[in-house]
Symmetry: C2
Subunit: 421 residues, 2 copies
């Protein structure tokens, strides 16, 4: 007799997630924390199930010419599993956002109004070849009372299938609905497309990954999206900048971890201080392995720098490449930032109060800084304890997103028979 188990359709899975979300929304913090602990233990003790599946994905990746960088992101081992378990336990320690009161009042007619945080319901996540995101998003969603539907990409399909099975078992073991975490990798690209169309079943979609992936989701999704975007990040050295501070901040912003979205991409320097600032700052950057792509005025001082192009200015290199430009004044710096910024993070080094205030007021980015490294744009650094991503859109969430950003609100109105006059 043939296998009589009927595979679930994608619609079945979304509906099961929706039903599970109702129970999860009512779950107590203690129940959700028990679920997180069960997941941490399953990840810690699940190497026998997880690592062979991960080996299979890695072998397929090598065969399909997956870059070594992506292979590294895809790879799990005992140490990384322990790290994922620890990260899951960190989320247990965070406050539960659900039920938090945002504001409230008693109206003149005696009606009591309270705006409380509630889970979104079902969160969709689309990402690429990073099995750590599977655990990470599932744990954040669980803590915030949301069911989650994961599309993790074909490159990590076997790993993700095992991870989701472990998570589902862990949820069931503490009496939470296993259906609250679903993978739809088996439906391939068609599954991602359907997820983006699933208005009414999925409440919000979070893409994590390359600029191209995010752009596709933003353009195609009918479900509301929280865009976590690329960072073409600027640092402006004002005429009054202290040279040591400028050097330290420029080097830290660019070099400390060049492959992430809050790393520096373009250094702007005020013309009147270019001769004072550029030699020490650019020399320090070069000593740290930075390749300079510079404009004409910079190249007058550093003639062996690569000539910078407009494309450089618009690019998130995610490498040790840095664009450098001398600008006439703050106005030209602001103009350059308006033209090329992705509205992620920009910083100014200055000792001038008026120019600091103008920079803070006029730069239209999620995070705007004075005299600080751009690397501080981070949920962990901001004290959120966990980071869902860094939103570069203006709707709902902007900048580093913590657990509260995974919730919506609802208004509770308590009356004693009031009617409208």
């Amino acid at each position: 007799m043939a296998d009589t188990v009927t595979a679930l359709s994608l619609d079945d899975k979304l509906r099961a997630a929706r039903t599970a979300s109702l129970a999860l929304a009512q779950a107590s913090t203690a129940q959700k924390n028990a679920g997180l602990e069960a997941i941490a233990q399953a990840v810690e003790t699940g190497a026998e199930r997880i690592l062979p599946a991960n080996e299979l994905d890695l072998a397929n990746g090598r065969e399909n010419g997956l870059s070594t960088g992506l292979q590294d992101r895809l790879r799990l081992d005992e140490a990384r599993l322990a790290g994922l378990a620890a990260a899951t336990r960190d989320i247990i320690a965070l406050p539960d956002p659900v039920g938090g009161v945002v504001r409230g009042s008693t109206l003149p007619n005696g009606l009591q109004l309270t705006q409380v945080r509630v889970p979104f319901g079902v969160v969709g996540a689309i990402y690429e070849a990073r099995p750590n995101v599977t655990i990470d998003i599932a744990a954040l969603a669980l803590k915030s009372g949301n069911a989650v539907v994961l599309r993790g990409g074909s490159a990590a399909e076997n790993t993700n299938r095992e991870l989701v099975a472990l998570i589902q078992d862990a949820l069931a073991s503490v009496g939470l609905p296993a259906d609250a975490v679903q993978t739809i990798d088996e439906f391939g690209r068609e599954g991602a497309t359907q997820l983006m169309q699933a208005r009414g079943l999925v409440d919000v979609l979070i893409p994590r990954g390359s600029a191209q992936l995010i752009d596709t989701v933003v353009r195609e999704s009918k479900v509301p999206v929280i865009e976590t975007g690329a960072g073409v990040v600027h640092l402006y050295l004002d005429a009054s900048a202290d040279v040591e501070m400028a050097t330290e901040i420029a080097v830290n912003s660019k070099v400390q971890r060049p492959s992430v979205c809050n790393a520096l991409e373009t250094l702007l320097v005020d013309a009147s201080s270019a001769e004072r600032l550029l030699p020490p700052v650019l020399s320090a950057l070069r000593e740290n392995g930075v390749t300079l792509h510079a404009d004409e005025r910079t190249r007058a001082l550093f003639p062996d720098a690569v000539p910078v192009t407009d494309e450089d200015y618009a690019t998130e290199h995610m490498s040790l490449d840095l664009s450098v430009k001398v600008v006439d004044d703050l106005d030209e710096a602001l103009e350059h930032i308006r033209s090329y910024s992705t509205h992620h993070t920009e910083s100014i080094v200055t000792n001038d109060m008026a120019r600091a205030n103008r920079f803070l007021a006029e730069v239209d980015s999620a995070v705007v800084m004075v005299n600080a490294s751009t690397r501080f744009t981070d949920g962990g650094e901001f004290g959120f304890g966990a980071e869902v991503g860094i939103s570069t859109q203006k709707l709902h969430a902007r900048g580093p997103m913590g657990l509260p950003e995974l919730t919506s609100t609802k208004w509770i109105v308590r009356g004693e028979g009031q009617v409208r006059g």
Copy 2:
């Protein structure tokens, strides 16, 4: 010589709005209030410009078979202009949301973090045949520091052109950028389509009007949308409901203004109290002209009621038609609401604390009430002073939206040279 004035393209207009938004974001509250006062005066004294244009739209409407209801919404007269001027002055009195501090902290490394409210930038609005919305949205956008691009529909094209011209003159008269308020009605449907594609130039799009209009914008827009949706609003009379309170709340919810989104559409009654509650409640509704569409169990008591259909349950009638259903218990009421609610407003009449709490916790709507008329879901009633609309989505804003819901936030980070270790 031919007319040498070159008409602006839609892209020109959007770019002009974007440029104007930069100045508006920096404008002081006093400047913006001066702009609002100038608009109020222009509307008050502009009858000679506005009313002939409105007459033309009305004549076109009659010719094109515009319904009398829509003709009424389209019509302006001296009294309505005075009302619009007064509403604009009301917005002067409201607090300016821009610059408001949402939260902040000093990090262990001394960095000072502040999350402040900032304007979105450029807000797009798509609506139908209601010239009052032109003034209303322009005034709300101005107060919240946003430029606005209006697509008000061909039926009100002449009226809106005059209104926008008056607003632009008023803005210029107080030194604010006239380009901050734009109409794109002259581009017809193609203009609306382009507006929905204008990612990067328009920050958020707000559709106001019919369910069909809103649905089209939600499905087609690449710009983030705040959905202001239809209300299939439910009232559940629990077994413990006081009969007088039930009657007053049901009548007020349905009858006080049946054509609006917070008016009642479906009455659910607990079976165990149906004989006690239905006769007085339904009789009072009928005395107020309500047509009952009732299920079998209700028709056992009111045999002359129209048999209700599934389509009735799913319909926002916006008229004196009401669906009535007897349910076995709270579970069946919650189940019915899950199936048919548009997640706008639901209310329960009860004296039972446990069931009240379950209803508040489990109904997934923007506003959930106990012992209160559904008509209270309203920005004015909530004390917001002005209402941008009632959001039925979960992202960014949910329920009545006031001025703060027309803003985004940004993080300000002030350091003294901190770098990341």
